[in-house]
């Protein structure tokens, strides 16, 4: 599979899981956090005509999800290369 010696499976998986936890945390905060749990508090602030919590629930969370996946994919590519498990 990969070159012996250069590949540390444990380190690779740990780096992957770290990135995964960060991604899931952001996913949770922008939707369940801003859009649901803390919506009332955020609604006090306005973004144009949008109450902020309402904006996160109907617009913002979706935009952030899109950006988040591309960011995740890019970071994973980097981790793959650093640990020499990337595809040819």
């Amino acid at each position: 599979m990969s070159k012996p010696g250069s590949f540390d499976p444990k380190a690779y998986w740990q780096a992957t899981l770290r990135l995964l936890m960060t991604t899931i945390a952001i996913w949770f905060v922008v939707s369940f956090g801003a859009g649901i749990l803390f919506r009332d508090a955020l609604d006090v602030v306005h973004l144009g005509g949008y109450p902020l919590g309402f904006w996160f629930a109907q617009q913002g969370s979706i935009f952030i999800f899109v950006g988040l996946i591309f960011w995740y994919a890019k970071r994973m590519d980097k981790i793959d290369r650093e640990h020499d498990v990337h595809e040819e």
Partner: protein, 603 residues
């Protein structure tokens, strides 16, 4: 050209396009039939996934749901998009590396068990058939409403078309027709939205229009004022409990990530890297519709109120007798859609005018004013089996939207083509996973192991053909609960397939016993809970009051509890049964590293 002819031309052209693509993209091998040959570009796959995912419900019903739920509609917006983040980080790249053709095949191999594979097939078939019935119904409805043919004829045409490209083309045919269908449906959805946003908020971008100005007020403030003045809940505040909103959103997200027809789309890209990117592209294409939908919903709701009560737009006295429009001179679109039962006017106080308001408002002062004005109940609703029901049907918000806003006929024709594209593309994706579960998992995998490639391809085609017929039957003669069963599909995917696949990737020690016990627990618990609380619609029994919900969680959100039970039971049973064998642990190790992902293989 009159509207009907124009609609026939636009829909006919879109069909010609799909048929052309189907002939061009015939499948010659099982690999082409199951995973489109495995070389689909991530952006192309993203677009196909968008069409695959966005169903008749997304296209026709969602904006209307949001229009009447306001903030409460957010559960669908977040729930049906957030699942792609879970897909990208938890499932798609690893299942792609595993490199087989179907979801049950992963579960069977990972849990070294034919039983697990068969349980997964059962979950898959249940989820996919409930879903596909709604799609075929959607095709029939669009045909009958726009083209004025009866639902059966509409269904036959739809079935014939899906039959043609799903049976002939398999995944390859479906992928490329879905790309075309995405383009049709997204234009059909966004063009009316752009016009309406221009009319209301003066900007062509609906996402900005919703947060923009209307005159000297913000549009959302104006809408809030309008609906609360008429006794409804404020648009930007919700009416569901927080725990329920939380659970429904999570169940829809995990359910999305666990839907087999979505997962298999990621088996068609060449590399693990592409699977991650493709999830991002899929969400880009989905987000275009999903961020437009809240604007469409809010603006359509506003337009509906302005049409019926002229004081809404001028800011005058809504209770003045002349503010309510005269029923006889109601707009043509209303009369036209009354034929379908989606909207109905009933003059309760006999004044010849239409009063549309919330008669169940809890605001005493409002109710007193309404009574003083001589209003004797809400007069605008829909027709349910010949009886007046005090709620306008959700679907009219998208279907009649161009007419409400006074847009030209070609936009109306485009809506028809878009609705059909949305329903057909999802139906085809679902029929394909059903057929591959039967030909690949049940026949090749369990009951007829020595079947030849040619035989398997034929079996796949026969299974697809039979599935089309069953789906057509379900669409023609829908069990009364079609709308309700969507809760099944997501709840079951969330409670059964999703946790089992995640454990299969992220736990090396999860074993056969744990996985099967967990899947069955999640499946049975969720099924029983939904049937129990929906027994009035499902079984015709007396309704159980909503106050009996477990922790205040509705049947739509209960999949989350099922998922938690799945995890707990899987863990306990794993501790009590023989550990996972070494070669399986190596398999799990292997799917975690991207290198060496050839394209998907049969064996």
């Amino acid at each position: 050209m009159d509207l009907k002819t124009l609609t026939f031309v636009v829909v006919g052209l879109s069909f010609a396009l799909y048929i052309g693509i189907a002939i061009w993209a015939r499948a010659g091998t099982t690999k082409e039939f199951y995973v489109a040959g495995g070389g689909v570009h991530p952006i192309v796959n993203g677009m196909a996934t968008g069409a695959d995912w966005m169903s008749a419900a997304s296209f026709i019903s969602m904006a209307g749901l949001i229009a009447f739920l306001g903030y409460g509609g957010s559960v669908y917006l977040m729930g049906w998009t957030g699942g792609y983040v879970l897909l990208a980080v938890l499932l798609a790249p690893y299942l792609r590396k595993f490199g087989k053709f179907t979801v049950p095949q992963f579960i069977g191999d990972r849990y070294y068990s034919q039983t697990a594979r068969i349980v997964a097939v059962i979950c898959l078939i249940f989820i996919s058939f409930t879903y596909v019935a709604g799609q075929m119904r959607g095709v029939g409805i669009v045909f009958s409403r726009f083209l004025e043919v009866d639902i059966t004829t509409g269904l036959m045409i739809g079935m014939g078309l899906v039959f043609f490209y799903a049976v002939l083309g398999g995944m390859k045919g479906v992928t490329y027709t879905q790309v075309a269908q995405y383009i049709v449906l997204i234009f059909a959805y966004t063009i009316p939205a752009v016009f309406i946003s221009l009319q209301i908020a003066g900007t062509p971008i609906p996402q900005l229009g919703l947060g923009g100005h209307m005159g000297d007020m913000y549009f959302l403030d104006k809408l809030n004022k309008t609906v609360t003045d008429l006794g409804f809940a404020a648009y930007t505040s919700g009416n569901k409990s927080m725990i329920d909103v939380f659970c429904i959103t999570l169940a829809l997200m995990a359910g999305t990530a666990g839907l087999p027809h979505v997962i298999v789309r990621f088996f068609t890209v060449p590399k693990v890297h592409d699977a991650r990117l493709s999830a991002g592209w899929a969400l880009v294409f989905i987000a275009i519709l999903y961020t437009t939908a809240p604007a469409v919903g809010a603006m359509a709701r506003y337009n509906l109120h302005t049409t019926v009560n002229t004081a809404v737009a001028t800011g005058g006295d809504m209770f003045a007798p002349e503010a309510s429009i005269v029923g006889e001179s109601r707009p043509a679109w209303m009369k036209r859609w009354e034929k379908t039962g989606l909207i109905r006017w009933e003059d309760k106080n006999g004044d010849g005018r239409i009063q549309y308001y919330n008669e169940k408002s809890k605001d005493e002062a409002f109710l007193a004013k309404a009574a003083a004005a001589g209003w004797k109940g809400n007069e605008l609703g829909s027709d349910k089996k010949g009886k007046f029901e005090g709620k306008v049907d959700n679907d009219i918000m998208v279907l009649a939207n161009p007419e409400i806003a006074g847009l030209p006929n070609w936009v109306i024709a485009l809506i028809a083509a878009g609705g059909i594209a949305a329903a057909l593309s999802t139906a085809a994706g679902l029929l394909l996973v059903i057929s591959s579960a039967i030909s690949h998992d049940l026949m090749k995998g369990v009951f007829a192991k020595d079947i030849s490639e040619k035989g398997e391809l034929m079996a796949g085609r026969v299974a697809a053909a039979v599935a089309v017929l069953i789906a057509g039957y379900l669409g023609y003669n829908p069990p009364g609960f079609v709308a309700q069963v969507v809760a099944f599909a997501f709840g079951l995917a969330c409670a059964s397939l999703f946790p089992t696949i995640v454990l299969g990737i992220f736990s090396k020690s999860m074993n056969r016993g744990g996985a099967i016990a967990g899947m069955l627990t999640g499946l049975v618990f969720t099924l029983v809970y939904i049937v129990y609380f929906k027994r009035d619609v499902l079984l015709g029994m007396e309704k159980v009051p909503d106050s009996a919900w477990f922790m205040g969680i509705s049947p739509e959100g209960i999949g989350v509890v099922g998922m938690i039970l799945n995890f707990i039971v899987a863990y306990i049973v794993m501790k009590m049964t023989a550990p996972c064998p070494d070669h399986i642990q190596h398999l799990v190790e292997d799917i975690r590293y991207p290198r060496g992902a050839g394209s998907a293989q049969a064996h």
